[in-house]
């Protein structure tokens, strides 16, 4: 802690008087450094030792107290969080601004402006802290006053009504019949391979697959060229292979995403 004091002889005396208690306070603070919610909180606590209204606070004295605190923490090899050190640097800067005559070259904010802002921040933080305390001191729901203990739920009974008109019906029928005129529905089945079909085929073929084979090689002849048929057969073969794997008949593997899927007969299966 610096012995330097800029506030005149009276302050010097006061300073000496409070020297011991300040140090004790600073030590108490250091022990409890984890209890602070950041540098502003620490400043607010330190400012209370001045025992004046926050509006009359001596920011210079406060800066000194804070710097002494940080110094002490350093001596005790207590790691301070970065923002405490940032604040210390800023306060050191503020202190020099307050103590040195203003530099005419520098058009930045005056030390007084910065000090006033810091005082405002402290006052605002304290005000919010008090507001929080007042809020928590209010009567609270579930503690001081209570809601209905057996609430009756407001039910929304949903009833669905389906609508269909004669026109919908006729259009639906027309849609089917018109389709029939052009494309007999039986044609549709020619491009579809069901999973059952695929399963039947693979059950027979799998007995020959002692080593890893691509699943795509199980494509039936003539199904690979037409995209619609290829899609159907691929899907069904895949589903069938999953069925077989589930039944413990085959093993299945894929090297990577989108890599070929390979299967082989399980030797014990």
């Amino acid at each position: 802690m610096t012995a330097f004091c800029a506030d005149g002889p009276m302050a010097e005396i006061e300073h000496l008087q409070s020297h011991v208690s300040d140090r004790l306070a600073a030590e108490a603070l250091i022990v409890d450094v984890d209890g602070f919610e950041g540098p502003l909180d620490l400043l607010l606590t330190l400012s209370r030792t001045q025992k004046v209204d926050l509006r009359q606070i001596s920011v210079l004295a406060l800066a000194k107290q804070y710097l002494a605190f940080v110094e002490r923490a350093r001596e005790l090899r207590i790691e301070l969080a970065a923002d405490y050190l940032v604040m210390a640097a800023w306060l050191a800067f503020l202190k020099s601004r307050l103590l040195l005559p203003p530099d005419p070259e520098d058009d930045g904010p005056s030390g007084e402006d910065l000090a006033a802002h810091l005082a405002f921040q402290l006052e605002r933080l304290e005000a919010m802290r008090e507001a929080g305390a007042k809020l928590m001191a209010r009567d609270q729901l579930g503690r001081d006053f209570f809601a209905r203990g057996i609430p009756e739920s407001y039910e929304r009974v949903r009833r669905v009504r389906y609508s269909a008109t004669l026109l919908d019906l006729m259009q639906g029928y027309a849609r089917i019949r018109t389709r029939d005129e052009f494309r007999p529905f039986v044609m549709d089945r020619q491009s579809v391979m069901t999973m059952e079909e695929a399963l039947d085929r693979m059950r027979n073929l799998i007995n020959f697959a002692g080593s890893w084979t691509d699943l795509s090689s199980y494509m039936p002849d003539g199904w690979g060229s037409d995209p619609v048929r290829r899609r159907s057969a691929t899907a069904s073969n895949f589903a069938a292979s999953l069925e077989l794997a589930k039944a413990g008949k085959i093993e299945i593997r894929q090297g990577d995403t989108f890599a070929p899927i390979q299967i082989r007969r399980r030797h014990d299966g």
Partner: protein, 221 residues
């Protein structure tokens, strides 16, 4: 209180009006009905919960909330005649799914009609859910079993169906020729273009066949 007037208790019990407030608050906030004994135990010494309860019951007579006895205990409940305020019936109108409309149309035009026949005409299988929905709506019902191997059930449309669609009988349904005349068959899909869209849709429902609900996925609102 049994104390004689000449010898008042050390602490006066609160006035009965205050006791009534207490009972009111306790009954309101309690998650369960409360017995008189419990009330007395919770209220300050010297209170007479039964008397306070009596006052409270009278106060709530004819109100929107009543004080009721539940077994040996007491509770406050909303008046039973206002129960309708606690629920609201929301009627949702939904369009019937395409699968259901087509199935219904086929039954109407081809009744009596088996499920296999419906599938043959639609070109895709018909999910259990679709049939169930139409049965539930009471627009179709089971007809006679067909006298063919397996004796499959048939479906026919109901009187409810005729009422809903404003028909005298199923024979009054317009025929294909009428549909064409009415312009309903004009938009003939060219194979591979317009019809394809229909196709894709049906394939989809075919894929999810048997799940019923999924088949109805296209319902709106």
């Amino acid at each position: 209180m049994a104390e004689p007037d000449l010898n008042p208790p050390l602490f006066d019990a609160p006035p009965l009006a205050d006791q009534e407030r207490m009972v009111e608050a306790i009954l309101f906030a309690s998650a369960e009905p409360v017995t008189v004994a419990e009330l007395n135990a919770r209220m300050p010494h010297g209170c007479d919960a039964a008397a306070a309860l009596d006052l409270l019951r009278k106060r709530y007579e004819g109100r929107g909330v009543t004080v009721m006895k539940v077994g040996e205990a007491w509770a406050m409940r909303t008046a039973s005649d206002l129960g309708y305020l606690m629920q609201r019936e929301v009627v949702e109108t939904r369009k019937l799914s395409r699968a259901a409309i087509e199935t219904l149309a086929i039954v109407a035009y081809h009744q009596p009609c088996t499920r296999a026949e419906i599938e043959e005409i639609r070109g895709v299988s018909v999910s259990r859910g679709t049939i169930d929905q139409l049965l539930e709506l009471e627009w179709i019902r089971f007809g006679r079993r067909r006298a063919t191997p397996g004796r499959p059930v048939t479906f026919v449309v109901t009187q409810g169906f005729l009422d809903h669609f404003g028909l005298e009988s199923a024979r009054d349904l317009p025929g294909l020729k009428d549909l064409r005349a009415a312009g309903l068959l004009e938009n003939r899909p060219v194979p591979g273009t317009g019809g394809d869209e229909v196709e894709t849709d049906d394939d989809q429902s075919d894929m999810f066949d048997g799940e019923g609900e999924t088949d109805e996925g296209e319902t709106d609102q």
